[in-house]
Amino acid sequence: MKSKLEKLKGTCIGIAGCGGLGSNCAMALARAGVGTLVIADFDTVTLENLDRQYYFREQVGQKKVLALQENIKKVNPDIVVQAHDVRLGPDEVVDIFKNCQVIIEAFDRADMKLMIIEIVTECFPDKFIIAGSGLAGYGENNALRTRRLGNLFICGDETSEVSPELPPLAPRVGVVAALQANQALEIIMDDLEPAVGADVWDE
């Protein structure tokens, strides 16, 4: 186990989005001892974010990537954090995460989730991507799960969409973020092999 934990120090994990999923996932990976975290988001911390995102009152108004970098460093100053204050599109994803072994999808919007899954599968067939899908509301513990499709893992219940009646709340968001972090550890510590031929369909 010790040598496996040692492996984490030499690992680089990318986190696309620093909201509920991304901020909580980053902190879990930081505490576990991942050596390098590449975090990216364009957004600013608001008071409303504090119901589920890993930020504090005095950080309201700060850029999320800078606030998250600060929180990671408070836990472990030795972790290398590359913070990118940027709105991610396909080109930025390729550029920013090219040195990461695993990429965590932590966007809010479903079309952005599909965008990063498509571009990572197409450009980085040897990398793993771990997405979140379905985390709104409360309860239904056992509906939250992980499914593997080649180099893509999807964590969540695959059904609960965020809406005014079904807001994202800290416990379920936290569980899905922890599922993503836990999956990343398994990939690294157990040397999971990327699926062969798991690229994009073209004819």
Partner: protein, 73 residues
């Protein structure tokens, strides 16, 4: 589609029999009631991009995985 032909595919680890010889990804998603707009689709472990749903076809024996992407993060 040809009358009388039956194709069997594996959809999310379940065998599904369908009348016909092949379906586009769009047709299959409609038939299988995938309702949310964003879906990850893999055929035989290869990702089909959303822009290709009309021109990529699924035939007998294919292994199809389709999972909804739900907003929220």
């Amino acid at each position: 589609m040809t009358k009388g032909k039956i194709m069997k595919i594996n959809l999310n680890n379940k065998e599904v029999s369908m009348a016909g010889e092949s379906f586009s990804v769009s047709e299959l998603l409609n038939l299988m009631h995938f309702t949310f707009p964003m879906i990850v689709v893999k055929i035989n472990n290869r990702l089909v991009k959303k822009e290709d749903y009309e021109r990529v076809f699924i035939g007998d024996g294919d292994n199809v995985e389709a999972i909804h992407l739900i907003s929220g993060g």
